[in-house]
């Protein structure tokens, strides 16, 4: 499953989807809103371009690391400190592949997926990565 959504998600549900009889390892990455002195974060996506990019990243990772299943959910909208931003769940035959696949996906997502976040603080607002 690949999804960009305003709604929160259940990591347990994603793990359940990733499990299979061929998988001996499930690795999860959960990104959350860190308190850097901000009040909240606003996330925005170019959904029509982001979804195919995430599909390409998933397919690359599945091929490179022999993954059995990949689940990616990224939230958009207004998120408070501590809320979930992104989940990546990878299953593979063995843990090395699952760890590497999960790492590959989050790094490529951050570099390539057209998604942006803005930190809203008491002193003002700032688009992350846009100096």
């Amino acid at each position: 499953m690949i999804e960009i959504t305003e709604n929160d998600f259940s990591l347990d549900e994603l793990v359940r989807k990733a499990k299979s009889n061929e998988a001996g390892a499930v690795v999860t990455f959960l990104g959350t809103v860190r308190d850097d002195g901000i009040e909240k974060m606003e996330l925005e996506a170019f959904r029509e371009a982001a979804l195919p990019e995430l599909e390409r990243i998933r397919d690359e990772a599945a091929g490179k690391f022999n993954l059995k299943s990949v689940q990616i959910v990224h939230r958009i909208g207004s998120l408070a400190i501590g809320e979930n931003i992104v989940a990546i769940v990878c299953s593979a035959g063995h843990r090395d592949e699952a760890f590497q696949g999960c790492r590959y996906i989050i790094e490529e997502l951050k570099a390539r997926a057209p998604i942006w976040k803005k930190e809203i603080g008491k002193k003002g607002e700032r688009w992350v990565g846009h100096e």
Binding site: L43, E44, F46, A113, H130
Partner: protein
């Protein structure tokens, strides 16, 4: 010909989420950007430096495909094309 412009993040705040521009046949991406500069001084300042060069944090897509920020400006637009303008991505 009608060209749809979509802007995201900081450029959405300047240009609005979406607009349609009626461009002359044969117009290039750089003509579209010039048109946007004419309509918004804020956009001109955000997207171009003092020498008139596109700033390197301005990213462009045509029909959801990234174009080279320099050579891509010469790309000829076609009726119905969708041009997206956005800053560097920062998801995750």
């Amino acid at each position: 010909m009608l060209i749809k412009v979509r802007a995201f993040a900081s450029f959405r705040e300047i240009l609005g989420r979406e607009r349609e521009l009626d461009m002359a046949e044969g117009s290039k991406v750089e003509d579209l950007l010039a048109e946007l500069c004419m309509s918004s001084m804020r956009f001109r300042e955000a997207a171009f430096d003092d020498a008139g060069l596109l700033r390197d944090y301005v990213l462009l897509m045509i029909n959801q495909k990234r174009i080279d920020p320099q050579q891509g400006l010469q790309t000829e637009l076609q009726e119905g094309d969708e041009v997206a303008i956005f800053p560097p991505v920062a998801g995750g």
